[in-house]
Symmetry: C2
Subunit: 350 residues, 2 copies
DNA sequence: TTGTATGCGTTATCAG
DNA sequence: CTGATAACGCATACAA
């Protein structure tokens, strides 16, 4: 077999892309006319010519080259999605909604994962920009290394998901963290828990974590002194201090203890720690976590969660962005979707 | 505030893209010279001119337009990733490896999710092709609706992941299913299980499922009659027949029963069914599943799994594709990575 | 070694 | 209404 087997396949020689010129020739008109048909339908053309062009397009199976169009009009039909960490199930769930909504609207998604490396956020935006993406969906912390705040992403619209940026001028789509936390705390108290501990990944500059932590403190402050509350950040692989925190919490025999975890990652870690301690969820300790993962019903007696409408979040973000791309020009919006309590065995009433 | 606040920001007016012409002017040379510097470094230029061009590029912060380059050379620096279902954790895990490897090699990934709708596979490839992607990574079944087999993807190289296509001419990257199944069965038998049931999502035309099922049957056939084996497909939400199968399996008191699940989705379902039946994993019934999900250690006594090197699979796929793009032209390769047994409580020896 | 001219596939600006 | 023609930003054959 000679080289280039795939390329030079007999059947369909690398699809020598048919261009607008081919169509024009076939229809016996000029390229400009074909272009007009493409962009304005038959609004600018005589019925007869329009039909001829249409026929030619069909028979040649012509499709415009987004690349050329992009070069010419400075638009690309591409949307840039920058996620902090594709390893995070939340990011993925959102990604899914985004991809769906974008595709339905005729956009394609270019994915850039910065792997929690904030320094790479700018790199991502720059790279995406050079591809003429028409806008950004950002699930990043928005931290800028040296420079001062640079809110505009090369003049392209952007929508933030889950994580706010400082002084943000963009639309923002997220879970209503305050309300969700209220739901969680209410639920625990209703179930008889009185000593609450909020466990979160390091707040760093991640707004959603900060919001949840703040909301938690407010919730506790708003209660009588009969309810105790504390919160703690746990680093990546700091299982030691996690177990320590649990033990400390469990000691107060006088009040029934429970934990609220800031996301699914922490939920899993806490569940593991509890297991190592030999504690039964919902009995020795209560547990409710943000994010309703598929495994939540099966860990221990089932883990109670606050389910985020992740798919909807992604779709919303895409929809907002596409509106902006379409010229929608009003002050930044904040779209907060409410979480849903899914009660399971880990928060059994006494 | 007037309209277009973002666009017309005073600081940096929508980045009126600096072009190769600007650089040429600044350096006092022709556009061609700049282009040469870009593409061949100083190999074709006198040291002096090269330096001048370099300086001009730096001072103007010039970056080439991938779009224009793409139009000119028919290459884009883009790689198309078509995924059967982004909702599937496996797809995502692979996606992650792919994105990383591609980015490291200077490629960006365009994502297209066909949501298990095989009819859309062609649509995906066509859309991606129009963006001049330089190659495809496909995690799809490769089914073509009407037409006969069309192995070439518009003349672009492709790499298949996890799912083979009929008569495939592409590189293929996947878990070594036969060997992995052997490991699983051996493990179960070592642990004293004698009545085995393989539970899988519908085989449909998904090669990995078929391979696992086949391997399972071979494993059983190769054993003495003391080991019983059967396999069963379970549809999307057919929990009823799943429970029925479990009950039937459990009845044979004479032999210790165990289940092998084809992927994480089924593992979760089986675990749920067992829980509903009040069975304890590792005691009333054994369970080992393909895919080592993060939750595996925490469900019941911990679920034994065959861990796939998903990240490596994704990286491999990307690497293979990039080699092909680079002109590597040898017969299709098959790269099978071996799974790793992670023993946990669900397959406790008697 | 360097510059000139042409074209990639479209769209937009002109005339006609 | 329609057709030349000139860009868009870049890479290359060709000429110098």
């Amino acid at each position: 077999m000679p080289s280039k087997t795939l390329q030079g396949a007999p059947k369909r020689a690398a699809a020598a892309k048919t261009t607008i010129a081919d169509v024009a020739r076939k229809a016996g008109v000029s390229k400009a006319t074909v272009s007009r048909f493409l962009n304005h339908g038959d609004k600018l053309l005589s019925a007869d010519i329009a039909r001829r062009v249409e026929a030619a397009i069909a028979s040649l199976r012509y499709t415009p080259s987004p690349m050329a169009q992009s070069l010419k009009r400075g638009k690309s039909g591409l949307i840039g999605l920058v996620v902090a960490d594709v390893a995070n199930p939340y990011s993925v769930a959102v990604l899914r909604g985004v991809e769906t909504a974008c595709r339905e609207a005729g956009y394609l998604v270019i994915l850039f994962n910065i792997g929690n490396d904030r320094a790479r956020e700018q790199e991502a935006i720059a790279a995406l920009t050079s591809y003429q993406v028409e806008g950004f969906i950002l699930n990043t912390s928005g931290y800028l290394p040296g420079k001062a705040r640079q809110s505009d992403h090369y003049g392209k619209p952007a929508v933030l998901v889950d994580r706010r940026h400082a002084d943000m001028q963009e639309d923002f789509v997220s879970l209503d963290n305050a309300s969700a936390m209220g739901t969680a705390v209410d639920h625990l108290i209703d179930a008889g828990y009185r000593e609450l501990l909020f466990v979160t990944q390091p707040l760093s500059n991640v707004s959603s974590r900060i919001e949840r932590e703040t909301a938690f403190r407010h919730c506790i402050a708003g209660r009588s002194a009969k309810v105790g509350g504390a919160s703690q950040e746990i680093g990546e692989d700091d299982i030691e201090s996690l177990e320590q925190a649990l033990r400390k919490l469990g000691k107060r025999a006088s009040r029934r203890p429970a934990i609220i975890t800031g996301n699914a990652v922490m939920t899993l870690r806490v569940a593991a720690a509890a297991a190592r301690l030999g504690w039964t969820l919902g009995k020795d300790i209560g547990l409710i976590g943000f994010d309703d993962a598929e495994w939540a019903p099966l860990v221990g007696p089932g883990i109670t969660t606050i389910a985020q409408p992740t798919d909807e979040l992604g779709r919303m973000a895409a929809r907002c962005l596409i509106e902006r791309i379409g010229g929608f020009d009003l002050p930044p919006r904040q779209i907060l979707l409410t979480g849903k309590l899914v009660a399971r065995g880990s928060t059994m009433p006494e």
